[in-house]
């Protein structure tokens, strides 16, 4: 008899890791962006399985709702026909795969050797009352600073994305002019 949680866990693992591989290996980068969103959604569902519904909803709101849409817009803005062959050569890729497989194997074997495969869940899951108390009490300054960081990063992103037209004498325009001279 297969437990429902086990089946859900296996399915979510496939979605999460498969989505991540799609994100990196899909030929059209727009499909890669969709795979990345699927991977984010799988991670959020894993958070639900781990009895952390608040974090799961936050993950869906921020990653699937904001970051994935931002990535999709950027992909559409910078879209062009040169997406093919954006990897290193085959030798470098094989070396990377071998290294990563060795890394993951050593990690997994150390998890099993540490006896973590017999650890089962604690009886009482933390509730989000505790999260609220931490966010408004002990960690309220962190929340404030984080809000400032978020505002600063959005302002910085807006300033960066506003490229002045050439001839204004700023660094970006000079770089563009140099590029055009080299290109002609």
């Amino acid at each position: 008899m297969v437990d429902v949680t086990d089946a859900a866990f296996v399915a979510l693992t496939v979605v999460t890791v498969g989505g991540a591989i799609t994100a990196l290996e899909a030929r059209e980068i727009i499909y890669g962006a969709v795979g990345l969103a699927a991977s984010f959604f799988g991670v959020a569902s894993l958070f639900f399985l781990l009895d952390s519904p608040f974090v799961a909803v936050f993950q869906i709101t921020v990653y699937v709702g904001a970051v994935a849409v931002l990535v999709l817009f950027t992909v559409m803005l910078v879209r062009e026909g040169r997406w093919f062959g954006d990897s290193m050569g085959p030798a470098a890729r094989v070396a990377a795969v071998v290294t990563v497989v060795a890394l993951v194997t050593s990690l997994v074997s150390s998890f099993i050797a540490a006896g973590l495969s017999t650890t089962s869940e604690q009886a009482n899951a933390p509730s989000f009352v505790g999260i609220g108390q931490l966010l408004t009490g002990q960690y309220a300054p962190v929340l404030e600073v984080l809000a400032l960081v978020l505002a600063a990063s959005v302002l910085g992103a807006l300033t960066l994305a506003k490229v002045d037209p050439p001839g204004e004498g700023d660094a970006l325009a000079k770089a563009q002019a140099v590029d055009e001279r080299e290109g002609s």
């Binding site: 993950q59 604690q122 989000f128 770089a175």
Partner: protein, 102 residues
């Protein structure tokens, strides 16, 4: 069979492996952004899994909330840089972006 702590850690390790693979083999700036986001997600799964299995407390979830918010801020800045690089260089291949090279 119930899902044990090591199962979640294995998923996290697999995601980490995929992220590292992308980070070392891709030259397209967008794929690098994807890799970084995958790595952040792998780390967050670790946090929540250890929090649920070994030390149930709201602190672990709170830290992951902070981590997700920071990753969103970072994604906004990186994507703005990618757009600027594309406008200036007409390309997002990171091996071609040499303006800052000394």
């Amino acid at each position: 069979m119930t899902v044990a702590l090591s199962d979640y850690l294995i998923v996290s390790a697999l995601l980490f492996g995929v992220g590292v693979y992308g980070l070392v083999t891709k030259r397209n700036a967008m794929r690098l952004v994807f890799s970084v986001e995958i790595l952040v997600n792998a780390a967050n799964i670790n946090f929540i899994a250890f929090n649920r299995f070994l030390w149930p407390s709201a602190l672990g979830q709170t830290v992951v909330l902070f981590s997700i918010a920071l990753a969103a801020a970072e994604a906004a800045v990186i994507l703005a840089i990618v757009v600027v690089a594309y406008r200036v260089h007409d390309d997002v291949d990171v091996s071609e972006l040499k303006t800052l090279k000394g």
